[in-house]
Amino acid sequence: MSVTEASRDTDAETGFVSAEDDFIFADSDNISLFPEQVVDNLMHVVVALGAEMWTMRRRLMVTEKVLEKVGVSSADIEQYQPSEEDLAAWAEERDIFIKRTFGALERRGGANVKQMDFSRNM
């Protein structure tokens, strides 16, 4: 029932965070599958967003189950009649969400950088 003597004088909190000098780190953050790292980065962000979205949806499903236990059914949620104020506020939120998420698709490139001094040797 005991930790051995060999480890008694070792600080367990720091003892394990002691990767040795010759430890090989995978450096997986810098793996490039595409010619431009930004494409890798963007795709990673897309996957991460998917994970966040599913996490939220799953929480909502759990929430609905919990609400059911206290008498609020899924049907109650489906049948909820929003007020005019609700609808207006939600529409505003929706449009902000759409712009924030998909706005990048409107971009056509060719940035106007004429104001920059290209001859400047920085």
Partner: protein, 356 residues
């Protein structure tokens, strides 16, 4: 948020619904990646081979590797896997780092408790073959305090949700090769990791003394914590499989589950030699691992993905392990060997008996 969410059948549920849900996404996304998203990538590989006019049977990997790697469809397939795996680790690690004070205290609280025991040797020399981030797990098995829960909650997605309650380990325990005389008093699980097989063995053979050894201190620490919670008596120790500290001829059964493909060829030889030493005459070494000694696949895409696994997934030794028939390695140490029935997912079973 840190919430005690109770237990599933055998496991403490991670203390955050969101961490669990995030892992659930990774499980589903990974399945999709390995199946649906794999199809267009494989088709592209076939098209590239045709364009290059290469014969799949004799073309060296060098002849098509760069073309595969540079193809955007194949790159998308690999990127999807890589990102999901990185996020899988990061999701769990962020939670444990965020609540590290709680989890450190939680582990310390159990270190001295039973049933079973914990032996940590944090200053011990590590073999070179373990000093890397296997499966790109941050810190690997030895360099991160939370390697145990990271491995547990992370690899449950590898198992596609089919091993959440240690089903595979119980399958091994129930079909474990036994000494012909039936005497089973001491069992050692080498490379035990988080001890899933160790506890399955202890519960399947309640009259036997069961040990779980692993080079990763954080792994055996978590294994002990979990065994205590399950009420299963196992002696966990941070020791090398090639230096177990047991006396000659003192063990009835040694088991190893998916250990050897993570070990260098020399490391594997040293471990097998040590197992032969500690097993009693008539004792059995039961190994569950990948199939070995097969001819190289003629499928270029499969060979390429094997290379990706080696280079990007830090599978340093699995290719080497697959090349030599593991029965030969066992035989060379003096064992009488045979192949057992395949185990879950068709994984191989190697049975080695120490001559009487």
């Amino acid at each position: 948020m840190l919430t005690d969410r109770g237990f599933s059948k055998r496991n403490r549920r991670v203390r955050s619904l969101d961490v669990e849900s995030y892992s659930d996404f990774v499980l589903g996304f990974r399945n999709w990646t390995y199946n649906d998203l794999d199809k267009p990538a494989r088709e592209r590989a076939d098209e590239i081979m045709t364009d290059l006019r290469l014969n799949a049977e004799d073309a060296p990997l060098d002849a098509f590797r760069d073309q595969f790697h540079d193809d955007p469809v194949i790159a998308t397939r690999i990127r999807a896997w890589l990102s999901s795996q990185q996020l899988m680790w990061q999701n769990v690690l962020d939670h444990y780092e965020q609540h590290k004070d709680f989890y450190h205290a939680d582990m310390q609280d159990v270190d001295d408790k039973g049933p079973g025991t914990l032996e940590l040797n944090t200053g011990m020399d590590m073999p070179d073959y373990v000093k890397h981030e296997i499966h790109i797990q941050p810190g690997g098995y030895t360099g991160n305090d939370f390697a145990g829960p990271l491995y547990h909650y992370g690899t449950n997605t590898f198992y596609k949700g089919q091993n959440n309650e240690d089903e595979f380990q119980f399958g091994i325990a129930e079909t474990l090769a036994k000494p012909r005389d039936g005497k089973i008093e001491r069992i050692v699980d080498i490379g035990c990791g988080i001890g899933r097989l160790s506890v399955a063995l202890a519960e399947t053979f309640p009259d036997a003394e069961v040990w779980g050894l692993d080079v990763g201190g954080p792994l055996v620490r978590y294994a002990h914590r979990r065994a205590v919670e399950l009420g299963t008596p196992v002696h966990f120790a941070q020791r090398l499989a090639e230096d177990t500290k047991f006396e000659d001829n003192s063990i009835d059964i040694v088991a190893a589950y998916i250990l050897f493909h993570e070990v260098s060829e020399q490391g594997a030889k040293d471990i097998v030699k040590e197992v032969f030493r500690i097993l009693r005459p008539g004792g059995v070494f039961d190994v569950t691992d990948f199939h070995t000694g097969r001819a190289r696949s003629n499928d270029p895409y499969r060979r390429f993905m094997g290379w990706i696994d080696h280079v990007y997934n830090a599978e340093r030794w699995s290719h080497q392990f697959g090349q030599k028939d593991f029965l030969d390695t066992l035989r060379e140490a003096g064992f009488e060997v045979e192949k057992g029935e395949n185990r879950h997912w068709g994984i191989a079973c190697y049975i080695a008996r120490k001559p009487e």
